[in-house]
Amino acid sequence: MKFPVSDTAILSRRDEIVARLREIVPDGVVSDQSGLATFDCDALSTYRQQPLVCVLPANREQVSAVLRYASAQGIPIVPRGSGTSLSGGALPREDGILLGLGRMKRILEIDYENGCVVAEPGVTNLAITKAVEAQGFYYAPDPSSQVACSIGGNVAENSGGLHCLKYGLTTNNILGVTFVLPDGEIVRLGGKSGSQGGLDLLGLVTGSEGLLGVVVEVVARILRKAPVTRTLLASFNTVTDAGACVAAIIADGVVPAAMEFMDRRCAEAIESYNAPGYPKAEAILLIDADGVEADVADAVARITAIVARIGGTAQEATDEKARARMWAGRKAAFAAMGKLAPDMMCMDGTIPRHALPEVLAEMDTLSTQYGLGFCNVFHAGDGNLHPLILFDVDKPGELERAEAFGADILRLCVKVGGVLTGEHGVGIEKRDLMTDMFAEPDLEQQHRIKCAIDPAGLFNPGKVFPTLSACIEQGHLHVHGAQMPRSDLPRF
């Protein structure tokens, strides 16, 4: 990965910049080396870079003042929520200010009448649900890092989760944001009405990966929790059958709340890790149906019939405990894989579901070619594939081979009509693969938007858009010694 060249003029002005930031945020500037070391990466810890300085504003006015100063002085800015990005979105710059939003973590308003929560950007994803669950509501997007990831970061990354097919991504579940533009202007995009009139700027900034400005407030839509959820485990003799089953369920008009695919290697690893009782099979689907009781009963009956027709075997979790056990296996997939090899990388691409057998076969070929093992977990309903590549960083050349394998998998996703990332974001990780997915005019159009809002290019420079001089192409989440970066978080 090629890091941007640091601006030595900025580096030499460090003391002055720190002093000025202390005037703006007297109690929130981190400038000592040990303090800065804690901010040197996000959850993609392969890449590390200590920031010039880290500032932790307490309110939007301070954010605005920091941006006005940085903009006037031409200093790069890297926004950061909780630092759980899997694509290096919050990787600092040596010559840039790291703007941490973690201190802004108040829930400002809960409005049940209009079905929304107004929160500062540092509020965690799960805290929004916790704030409203006693009244029977929740916030739908549930990235695996939801105990730690921030709602502001979710907006920046357009985060997903297990339930996107039915409930959408972040962009479909927020009604408005307050946003600070690079020049320090504070604007409201959308609001409790969900729209603003005119161009959909809310839609544009959601998922813009910190390249257009900083989220300082979010109006998140809350939903009534489904009264009933039932879980089915279906096993199949072939991967193709499992794929056909997913297609048949969708074609039958059922939209499961979640539908997870695991291949044999993955299921076996999980079974030997925490023994959730997965049967021996080439492929397993874990399916949740939610809603009112009769709707769920109807969905379960239809899914069961489809599984049988295709020649699979379905079993239903008989009670809440059995349901939790079935899911505990799937949610431990990453940890279980960690037992198979010292290191692994998690990829994130989306494919048209019909291409699954072809993609799996091709990945087998690549696996042999690179001499590395892998296994697959897959949000089957929406085609979001998470291949896990197994390797040992201590063996010479394996890291490089794993990186090349990973990049080939993402190219394969694009080749069959899919995309580089379904939920982790481009960040620095997949930046250099963007040209595999987009032609030059496509990328230029996106880049012109960037220039329209951040003409000086100070916001999160070096992310998302490939630089022409880039030399190494990679795409992965690097895990060493079965220790995920942010290993306290479940990853699924």
């Binding site: 604007v187 009139g197 005119g198 008009g253 009963a297």
Partner: protein, 387 residues
């Protein structure tokens, strides 16, 4: 008027327009030409028209992938029928405004996306912006490009599909649209809670909206209109969908939430179609507004404006209002005060020229929007000034 039948021809047209510094109007079925500021060139002359109705037809429909790709000139009726044949539908329930706007043209997919023309079904699956996954288009420099993707889950790069929804053709000439589609339930039932005040009726609708019933449509219709028979002072209308047996359970649950008498309507489909297409306003000569609101604000807004002709869709989140031209400033002010905004859908050319479609934005936002427009169309050739 110049007709085009391919993206290459669109490119050629735009490049020529660029060389001539000649702005133009983009038209497919032409049903929504009456929305927005009347356009003219710097000499006040009518703009040349780029007719994109020749960009038509479904390119690819994959029901198992929940994906359909179609050319923007595809008639809404055609795509609706093709999806219905596989028990699917477009999530934003696209509206045909031709009767409402006095046009005899054919409403198209591209027009519905560009005008953000959603129907009551938006309640369940969101607006066009929530299901437009990708598109192809030609920008104001005459360059074709693609944005987004053709898979249901994608976060690669900026989400440009959001921007073209409701942009009224000011950013690019659309040449292809890819949507995520939704299953259409086998059964539907329309419940009518008759003779309720706007306040009480909208409160019932919000209760249903915030329940686990996943309603497919919720609107309030005041009494004395031609859409329904005798409903007293007004009716709260609730649409529920599902397979046959579950639907019966949902209806029972809905009755519990309503807390009063309600009856099923025999012809809910027709009523919802009429509401979707703005039939209530087709025979009137009032100006027409669509106000987006936090739903709980709707009763207050209605009390303040006291409109003679109106309808409260999306459980109050989208008010359709007919009003005299003199009420324009009040409507915009009341909408803004309620943390919403008022979109002008029908008015005289003079009113449209002074009011535009959307209310003027604060300076920083207006600048942001201008810069984005320029990033697509630096010479301001595409539907200039329409927004």
């Amino acid at each position: 008027m110049v007709g085009v039948g391919s993206e290459a021809e669109v490119e050629e047209f735009v490049r020529a327009a660029r060389a001539d510094h000649a702005p133009f109007e983009i038209v497919a079925g032409g049903t929504r030409r009456g929305v927005g500021r009347p356009m003219s060139n710097s000499l006040g002359a009518e703009l040349p028209v780029l007719d994109v109705s020749g960009l038509t037809g479904i390119v690819k429909y994959e029901p198992e992938e929940l994906i359909v790709t179609a050319a923007p000139g595809t008639p809404l009726s055609e795509i609706r029928a093709a999806l219905a044949a596989r028990n699917q539908c477009l999530g934003f329930d696209p509206a045909d405004w031709s009767a409402m706007l006095g046009s005899n043209g054919t409403a198209t997919l591209g027009g519905a996306v560009s005008a953000d023309a959603f129907g009551p079904g938006r309640l369940r699956h969101g607006a066009a912006r929530d299901s437009l996954l990708g598109f192809r288009g030609v920008n104001g420099m005459g360059e074709s490009f693609r944005a987004g993707s053709k898979v249901v889950k994608n976060v690669t790069g900026f989400d440009l599909p959001k921007l073209v929804c409701g942009a009224f053709g000011t950013l690019c000439v659309l040449t292809e649209l890819t949507f995520r589609v939704y299953p259409k339930a086998s059964h539907a039932i329309t419940l009518c809670v008759g003779d309720v005040t706007p306040e009480d009726g909208l409160a019932v609708l919000r209760r249903i909206a915030h329940s686990a019933l996943e309603p497919a449509g919720l609107f309030y219709l005041p009494g004395g209109t031609s859409l329904l028979g005798d409903i007293g002072q007004g009716a709260a209308i609730i649409r529920l969908e599902g397979a046959e047996a579950p639907l019966a359970q949902k209806v029972a649950m809905a009755h519990g939430l309503i807390g009063g008498p309600a009856h099923a309507l025999g012809d809910g489909d027709r009523l919802f179609e009429a509401v979707r297409n703005g039939a209530l306003f087709a025979g009137s000569d009032l100006d027409m507004w669509r106000i987006a609101l936090p739903p709980a604000e709707a009763p207050r807004v209605i009390k303040t404006l006291n409109p003679s002709l109106w309808l409260g869709d999306l459980a109050g989140g989208s008010l359709w209002i007919g009003a005299a031209p003199a009420a324009a400033a009040t409507i915009r002010a009341v909408a803004t005060k309620a943390d919403g905004h008022a979109m002008l859908l029908r008015a005289s050319p003079q009113s449209r020229a002074s009011l535009g479609i959307y209310a003027p934005q604060p300076p920083a936002l207006a600048m942001m929007a201008r810069n984005i427009k320029a990033a697509f169309d630096p010479m301001n050739l595409l539907n200039p000034g329409r927004l």
